[in-house]
Symmetry: D2
Subunit: 402 residues, 4 copies
């Protein structure tokens, strides 16, 4: 049964002032261990090694996404034409749960384990878990509905727009939240105004023409956050060490099976997806693993663990091409095993792309009622889309080799 | 003599936390009646009829520009290579005084009187005024130095960059200040970071390559403030009435000379520049004039005055071309004298233009030490410069004609 | 008819983010000339001579008080038990109109003219005015209802609690607003939390026991604002000059009747209350009067006017008793006419007084449902009430006499 | 050698905008593992279970305290009369290091292990550690100087005032920081103004009389933070479970020595202070321990671990006396072992106490130059000191027993 809570509950939050909880289902989901686990995973992975106050968790972000969706389903002009009460509660639950499949250090874990967090999210919602039981107890079949919203397979495509599109509650919360907790001003945009200018048009969520400026501002906020925070080279330097550590650990398991026993928290990296070990996989167990490894025999694993614990970072330089890369790789190889001590990456991102699938785009309802895709009506966005993206190719390595 | 104040004085300010005054000259300039007069002129003219809290004065802004310049001459990397103590105090004085030639409702007065505020500023600084006497008493010849900075004729062109360029203390203060007092978030950008990334290169003020993002953010802040605040159609509708009122008043003086006597505050509109009446020309005397006119015989002057006092605004519509304009003009003419009750304007602005004179541009010092103009190194700025500017042509008229 | 507006309107506001207007009556009241006039009166009188950004008007504050009352009648727990729709709209109108009887420089005008602003407010609402006509057009008899809320004679005493008590929307708005516009942090308290902890108990508006801390914080905010802003000695020094100017003007009218003719804006000081001249009485006409007086023959009126225009302030010292006062008075009298150039005042205020009439007090609903007056349950508030108030006796005079 | 860094380094911080680092010693201390470890300890222990965004670390706070001290030694009026360059760098180092002896869940660990964090801090600074080596390398004997500032044994008592008194950089930072990260407004006060009103008087750090209001505001901020955040009953309920868990663990070691082997991270609880295991003791290892315990045989340890991981909290009620306590204890005992499932505490705090040792007090320099203790000159503070403190006695137990 989809009951209301006996009294409206509020949680203080610096981004939204209060998170309002009015449905018993949401309250019960919050208490599930799979959701509580998110408190032990940083929202921005290792970014707190760059911006020292970026210590907020995925749990706070999940609450924020939920709160934005709660306001959207209550406040958007015309929303009741397309959503019924069950749709609303399902999309609020989807918002709260959208990240529960994330491991610690997010895509690092995905790179090594070859497991996507979206798949784990689906598994948690659909299979044996506290979250699954709470959803099914509230309403039989609800877990499938929630999962389908997150996998873009729900018949009402608009529901996926709320939690997974280029103007979704996920991005809307994290830009503001990451700006607040890093202490930068770049991610700020006018959430109140965007919420006011959303309007349902046919089966789509669109933005009124009068709201284009706030959307342009939001797009620029994304752009700045990418380069100032999300793609910050020092953050990538920490990731280079994480990847090296996990690679080394996986490589060691091949010659020494005891490694797998002694480090149960890292077993997940070997690619087998089971929910119970996944529940025990968070940053606290990973760091406990780094502590253990920092007194390990293997000099490489030990060194990389110490680097992670004590922020002994790699240096980095920009490289234009393969030749420049090779010069540095060769320097590294004089002293180090370049499988672990040399890393390259390349970042490129557009803050908005008009070339993605239909339901991911941002739509504007013109004054005459017609719908156009954002870059068709905003000269600024069109210009940004057309601009040559920045080249950002780097290599990472122990500083002293230079 | 350029003395320091006996103790550092501070004025509380919401934008800069404190305005610091350490030079007796600045303290003495503040007390001049030409500077105090700025308290009786709104920084944003009639914008408080759109954003009701935009009630801040040109005086507060003058303090803010001064404070930013004070920090620039104290904090910019390498500044002592190009500025001596006298340059510094002169440019701080220029910052404080840069707007003293403004009439109320700024460019409206210029349009009608054909007098530019820059010329009045020069006159006040150079001729008989309290400001002039304070400058000359502090150091003989100083008034000419300060005036030359504002007229871009000082031999050190960099001094004009501080107070009059596309990245000057004037814009840097007003974006933040106007955002704060309108309650919008659009004008915010990271002033602290920009101040930190300024660097002197040769005889130019430039920004380090690592500061490009904060400059892009500042450019976008300008862009948004233009369309959300400075060019807001309701503000332009108020200006349409102001222009009509002043036109009518000038027209009436031709047939009835007593008008000129009875409204001494508006005499300035007739184009003769004298400093003493200018000192008595501020928004309080203008509004007293509107009060008088609101009980005047002439029905047009009376009606326009009441509209100004009680916010009875014109309506407006977008027009694409002359034909559309004429259709509306003809409707107006059925009931109204279209010389006063029909107004058209056209707004277009780029937040940054690389085509202006040299000292107005924004320069970046690359990592290798070379200097490039901003749009050469920022893809985003280049895209914005290349973007087709918005079309914003409107006509204004009494609402009821539609 | 009490209609809703065709669509919800919002006005951007830095304190409340948005002011929401949903009733046609409120929209129509906003357009009345008696309400628009408040844009030409500073909320904090001459405080902008102390805190240079305190330039906000009574109009903005009126909107803020309205918005808080709008939220109170919509959001307070149990409010529908005691208020019907008509009560709600009447108290929202009362909130918007509560200050329309204020002259410029508020209590200064009251001191000289012996007319209380509350009486003018009643007159405007009840007699021939745009405001009166709008109220009566919306619903016959509504003007009396609104007036009775402001004069504490409405049968439902709780309605007066909303707009006139020690925890009313008036104080709640001005503390936050004055803090924002002065740039001080002292007036900040947690409005959201107070709104959440209000609860109707019987016929009273009370605060839940769990909200005591936010009330204590609000009381301290008042305390600090008194001494840091409202009673700031420099502000009182400006008031001393205003009082002297107005006294001198009244005295001059006795010997020279032309004065009354030439300064129509000050006639109101002579004590006759008429609404039409009152409408023309605002700070713009007063300052236009100061401009005129600054070129007047009478040396005292002229000097005081110049002081007001150009911030040539009186100095001040603390005095403990009559003897100390007399010493300074005698010094003043050597050079000046002490009727105008010597002023004394004494400030004393408690941020909360449990000794006022019943409906002004702050009530707490304990967990067991009983009601207690605030100082009975808060040790901190009891301590503050019991504390000896600060002695703050000062005299003001031309600085150079010391 | 006490070198400056080659260029001034800045770290972005939401509380202080930037943390400025200009001394190589500070930069080198930051890189020490004992300092980096503070990133893995929450500043507010388990408060993030009450305010979900209170996830900031002791590391960020350490930087903030350092930054405030850095400003104090640079900006306080007259500071150069009493401090030389070596004093300054020593007290900045002391600020950065003041918390390095803290275990996770701070005083919980102290209660169980009977080891005070101050003693560990001394040990780390004075004995074999990276921090010790960095200090001694910078200047021989410096570690003793820094330690003596923190232990109040340095001959210049004023140095201890900076980092350990009732108006020290520690409190000044944590009030603002904890307010920011919890999202409450209670802890805010005007740091800039306090910094401006500090003045050296003789050998004491005092506050100018004109700054009393900002100090009163700061005292009230402390008062509110105690009751709204630091003593929040839900936070204490989490602590009740932590204490129970650790007690149980210690009790189990007595019967099963393998426990000590299997949980190396908790060995420190047994009371033996060694630095190397202490370095491995942080919240990540503790939580890894809770994960292990959550699959342990012992039902009590297992249950308490699950409660900690998944926020299954104890309930609580106020109790007035021993009798009320016993009633509840007896209810608990029907189902639970009350050694672990029943907890009582009592909170009482004054935000300022004039009865502490001399160097902890807050001193005011009156206008005539004499020094008085704060409560002698502030009626408000005197009232608060005299007010009966709140009674806050509670018991905690599994919710379902009621």
């Amino acid at each position: 049964m989809l009951n209301k809570t006996s009294e409206s509950k509020v949680l203080r939050d610096p981004i939204h002032e209060y998170i309002h909880i009015e449905d018993q289902l949401i309250w019960d989901l919050l208490a599930c261990r799979e959701v509580q686990r998110l408190k032990r995973i940083h929202q921005l992975g290792t970014t707190y090694q760059v911006y020292h106050t970026a210590e907020h968790s995925r749990f706070s972000h999940a609450l924020g996404v939920y709160e934005i969706v709660r306001r959207m389903v209550n406040e958007i002009n015309g929303i009741d034409e397309i959503l019924n009460e069950e749709d609303k509660i399902a999309v609020m639950a989807a918002a709260l749960l959208h990240d529960i499949g994330h491991g610690p250090f997010s895509h690092i874990f995905e790179v090594i384990s070859k497991v996507h967090h979206e798949d784990i999210t689906q598994k948690i919602i659909l299979e044996d878990s506290e979250v699954h039981r709470v959803l099914e107890k509230a309403q039989s079949g609800l877990s499938k509905v929630v999962a389908s919203i997150l996998s873009h397979t729900h018949p009402k495509a608009v529901l996926s727009q709320f939690v997974s599109s280029q103007l979704d509650a996920d991005r809307m919360d994290y830009l503001l939240r990451d700006a607040y907790f890093t202490g930068t001003s770049y991610g700020k945009y006018d959430l109140e105004r965007i919420l006011r200018t959303f309007v349902v048009n046919g089966d789509k969520l669109t933005v009124k023409e009068s709201g284009i400026h706030s959307i342009e501002d939001y797009i620029m906020a994304r752009y700045h956050m990418y380069y100032q925070v999300y793609y910050h080279p020092v953050g990538r330097a920490v990731e280079a060490i994480l990847i090296a550590f996990f690679k080394r650990w996986v490589d060691l398991t091949k010659s020494d099976p005891s490694i797998t026993q002694r480090y149960p928290m890292f077993r997940f990296l070997l690619g087998k997806v089971e929910l119970d070990p996944f529940y025990h996989l968070d940053e606290s167990t990973c760091f406990a693993g780094f502590h253990m490894a920092s007194v390990e025999q293997d000099p490489i694993l030990k060194d990389l663990a110490e680097r992670l614990l004590n922020r002994r970072l790699f240096g980095y330089v920009d490289v234009k091409n393969e030749d420049e890369r090779n010069v540095i790789r060769q320097k590294v190889e004089k002293t180090y095993d370049s499988r672990y001590y040399f890393y390259q990456d390349e970042m490129s991102s557009r803050p908005y792309s008009p070339y993605q699938e239909d339901e991911s785009l941002i739509y504007i309802t013109l004054i005459d009622g017609t719908i156009k895709e954002l870059s068709q009506v905003s000269n600024i966005v069109a210009a940004i889309v057309a601009a040559k993206p920045k080249d950002d190719k780097k290599v990472y390595f122990p500083k002293e080799i230079l």
